[in-house]
Symmetry: C2
DNA sequence: AATCACATATATCATATTGATATATTCATC
DNA sequence: GATGAATATATCAATATGATATATGTGATT
């Protein structure tokens, strides 16, 4: 629940495009990036408070007739700066979730430099290809080491899912690189 | 940390093929299914104890010269029965992780019926196609609702990753169905 | 007019998970 | 003989999850 938490950047990024309440944020992020980034109320509300306390976001209470108050959060200049720093920070190729990290950054691509975005997608592509190779090698090793193991065919099937996913990711990187070129 | 925990079935499944210590299990599962199923010592050791207490696994302490004792876990008949029950239990199409669930079941495919395996992969394929359609529809909706929003191109890119992943999953299901036919 | 389901809105909490670390020994390598 | 990796279990603070409580408005159905 610190400021460096990646989910807090997801929130900061969303606030950069539109002031929101916690409820808004959760709904928006769930809908747009829910397929690769999970978000829950248990994260959103505490993180918004942390963000506000660190002066990366400002709060305004909107009293409504009858209803409970709505807290509208806006990103501050310091928050925008923090967001940009994160978007331009180097990727960690050791991260087991580099794909999700790059996708999250791309979602907020409006706030990053075009050449940085491209470089990060290229890095992700290399990472994906490396993974595909690793999974292919693991499959070969399985065949040799468990030649007569009755589990082998099933283990090969799940190994193939890793290869397939990695190749699909590399392909998506290619498409994305083309799409990004069209934006420059 | 209950018996119904899916990770406990992953452990049970691994034990079905070979008696193991917690250390063995973690290393094995991490290597073989780590790309879609995370496992940590914080899960393995407590779950093994739960499994043993529920009589789904038996423990034998192997004292070693100098070294700390090694606890060797074996699956019991009740454990095998529990594993099979899980492997043949109906899939929840609402699950956000149906892909990982089916892959885990397939990894332990040696212990399930061929026609059940096939049916579950077919269900996963239908689920993946549904997801692909949903993401495609979401992309179209984005284009209409945020026509002049400067975020649009980036939001479309991340939406496309959902479609791409879902299509790749459906393709993998097809390959897997073919592979499974070869086993019958 | 009543009822039902759903959307709005914030907040909390028990439970589960993560990721790192402590401990202690053997083995291979430099 | 020193360094690092592998073996092996265990724990724990920090986080995240998923469900639920609370309270009201809105729109649809009966």
């Amino acid at each position: 629940m610190q400021t460096k938490n990646t989910t807090s950047f997801a929130i900061l990024g969303a606030l950069a495009s539109r002031a929101s309440s916690g409820y808004d944020l959760k709904k928006f992020l769930e809908q747009q990036i829910g397929h690769f980034w999970k978000i829950s109320y248990g994260q959103v509300y505490p993180l918004l408070k942390v963000l506000a306390q660190a002066n990366l976001a400002s709060v305004k209470e909107q009293t409504q007739k009858g209803r409970p108050p709505r807290y509208l959060y806006k990103i501050t200049p310091a928050g925008k700066s923090e967001l940009r720093n994160w978007l331009h920070s180097p990727l960690d190729p050791e991260s087991p979730n580099l794909d999700r990290e790059v996708m999250l950054r791309l979602f907020f691509g409006r706030f990053s430099e075009a050449n940085m975005r491209t470089r990060q997608v290229e890095q992700l592509k290399a990472w994906a290809q490396g993974r595909a190779d690793q999974h292919a090698a693991a499959g070969k090793a399985l065949k040799q080491q468990h030649e007569s193991n009755p589990d082998l065919p099933f283990w090969l099937i799940t190994a193939s899912s890793g290869t397939a996913a990695a190749i699909a990711l590399a392909d998506w990187c290619d498409q994305t690189l083309t799409a990004l070129k069209g934006l420059k």
